[in-house]
Chain length 428, copies 2
């Protein structure tokens, strides 16, 4: 089930969208069966791109922030989902410790943290926020613009447990991607649940691994509803051990980008798509601040690499990169290019927003300075039959397909965490 | 977790309410632990009465109708809860058959049915409506005022399964209380889930059994949060085998009512309550159309019985009755007396409404001709901090206590269905 939110889509429903809407009972059943075998990740946000002819996730975050961007009317859904998640993991929970990013003191991040705290408080837990930053020696209370405040407390590590002064949590919710590596203070905890687990950290996850798994999920799903999985899957390739600070590295990248562009061109031809293909190059290791490079012509790579702070943020030396088929977005809000970001808690879609950037093109990264956010509201169409429609018919839930794609992306994360779990017992 | 809905309460928060609000983490944990051991009933609606000094369920319905009275903004919560319930019971479900009341053709009931169908469709199921009425020989489509329509189809019984033409459901949702008894067509089904189970039928349930179990639940809960369980529990007594059509029967009832009134008076004195106690007499067997008799003075019983169509609806002969402490309601909407009705799906509170009656008193039954319904909306206080409050503080969720009491009532139903399950294995 996906709540009916208002999307920016106004045109006629295309073939892919109609296929997804028509297959709803089969799709929901498929997901239910998946969750019998696999554990949903605790929470995630998924960046989705809708090119019209194709709809795909381009990135996901297992430590989502920006919860304050969700519309207030979505809060009860998030709380109900949080309640279901907690009940499954640790029904006897009383206390929840949230571990935030270390150096995020901007009010936007803190407002997101306050919203997360609110969700879990409303789910019936005592919630406190414990920083693992070595710089935080004593509690500090930070006021938020909307009148709320956040108290950051230094965590205390006893032998087998992590907590705060007079606060022993049974569950620890990480909202810290730990891109610099998992600190020892989180290791070897006894009887405490770490959510998500440490191997979800941006310091160890690989985008290539993730998108390979996503591709397998997309293939199976494509078979289920009878579509070419390319319509929901961005093609990708990987480069390992290339140093983009060297001419040799750039040459390798150029060859690989050319090959991927050729594959996209072939697909575009097959589907009669007139757009110009492009490739997005990302560092293989995840990390909230990792940048990306958009390449429309491989001849431009050297010049682009010189200008892109993102790739240059990779230190000299060999690195792995993900080359991803660029998925343009054909959505706009007030003429500005927009892409939906969908939030999930446990297996439930609990809301989303549009990331909007007035100065960027349909084939560019919108997650850049100057972007703003428009919460997705519940559809009015849910509340009143629309006069233009056949009497009694409700407007179709056009947000549904985003919820489906976001859940496929989340399912891939579940598979990924199962596959990369260092503690998993192996029977193969 | 209970969604934050607007209640009619405007006065200061009293002691009981404050205690419930303060105990939220303990309460939520207690419920989570209960659901580890017990299965929530599939869906229910609970009539709650708030006297200010005391807050208690006075009746509950295991085949709730009036879903159309819930505000539209609650729909996603109901859908998410339905999804969780279905996933637990029958994850491989594709088709759901709803069995409605047999002779309810009024547009209000049909609109409720349409809403129920919508909830399960949005949860991802193929939903059709199959009547078990012997009068329905072929499909009939009934138009609803809001433009929607309901198609009632005659059920088909094959050897071990119940379905419709070309429709084999794995789950059958009963929205028919079967007060006249469970029809044979529902018996001995193979591999189909009947929700709720047949022994939830109004033809076999006993109010006395239910309220006895509720009292035990209330006692344990009272201990948990440190209150006299009377504050959440209406005292009760039972009369078995009395014929209210005879003077002897009325004499027995008079004695028992007097005894209960004396117990209530004692409690009122203990708490310094100046109100006039009253007792409500109900038929022991549940049934949507069962009436009740409000008794303020046992001397009036003979006269009241003569006037009350409710008790006269009991055929001459011995019957069992429940005598329940009357709980007045101190809530009003536009000066009319009101009582909240809370809806649950699985373990989740998914909405509610006020039943309002302009011509009835605070100690009278509001479920009578002339009543109307006011959906409970989400609180604005959830969306914006209120100026009158301390900066950063949100308005307390005064609906929370109703959600707690309704869940206690639902938990008692779970215990009841476990205790009365004819197929349960007994180890005692």
């Amino acid at each position: 089930m996906v709540p009916h939110l208002v999307t920016a889509l106004t045109g006629p429903i295309n073939e892919l969208e109609q296929r997804i809407l028509d297959s709803m009972p089969a799709i929901e059943r498929w997901f239910r069966l998946e969750w019998m075998e696999h554990t949903p990740v605790f929470y995630t946000s998924v960046d989705v791109r809708n090119a019209g002819f194709k709809l795909a996730p381009v990135d996901s975050d297992l430590f989502p922030s920006a919860w304050n961007n969700l519309s207030e009317s979505m809060l009860p859904l998030a709380v109900q989902a949080a309640m279901a998640a907690i009940e499954k993991i640790c029904p006897e929970a009383r206390n929840l410790l949230i571990i935030p990013e270390n150096n995020e003191r901007n009010s936007f991040y803190l407002s997101s943290l306050a919203q997360l705290r609110r969700i879990f408080r409303m789910a019936g837990l005592n919630v406190r926020i414990g920083s693992i930053s070595a710089d935080l020696k004593k509690s500090v209370t930070l006021n938020l613009p909307e009148g709320d405040s956040i108290t950051l407390e230094p965590v205390l590590r006893t032998k087998g447990r992590l907590g705060l002064k007079d606060f022993d949590p049974c569950t620890i919710l990480l909202n810290n991607e730990m891109v610099a590596g998992v600190p020892g203070i989180l290791e070897d905890l006894q009887g405490q649940y770490l959510l998500p687990p440490m191997h979800a950290s941006g310091s160890v996850r690989s985008r290539a691994t993730y998108f390979k798994i996503y591709e397998e999920v997309a293939k199976r799903f494509g078979k289920l509803i009878g579509i070419d999985h390319w319509l929901i899957n961005p093609m990708h390739d990987t480069c390992s051990d290339v140093d983009l600070h060297t001419e040799e590295g750039l040459a390798v990248l150029t060859v690989r980008v050319d090959a991927l562009l050729a594959k996209i061109r072939k697909k575009y031809k097959e589907y009669g798509i007139k757009e110009k293909p492009f490739v997005v190059v990302k560092a293989d290791h995840l990390g909230r601040n990792a940048g990306l490079l958009t390449v429309r012509d491989s001849k431009d790579i050297a010049a682009l690499a010189g200008k892109s702070p993102a790739l240059l943020a990779l230190r000299p030396g060999p690195h792995a990169c993900l080359l991803q088929e660029g998925v343009m977005t054909n959505e706009r809000i007030n003429d500005a290019v927009a892409e939906p970001v969908v939030y999930l808690m446990d297996r439930y879609v609990v809301g989303g927003f549009y990331r909007v950037h007035a100065d960027r093109g349909v084939d560019e990264d919108l997650s850049a300075p100057g972007s703003h956010y428009v919460p997705l509201a519940f559809a009015d169409g849910m509340q009143l039959p629309q006069p233009a429609l056949r009497a009694g018919a409700s407007a179709p839930n056009r947000f549904y397909m985003y919820g489906v794609i976001a859940r496929l992306a989340m399912l891939a994360s579940s598979y990924e965490l199962e596959a990369t779990d260092p503690d998993a017992e192996r029977y193969d």
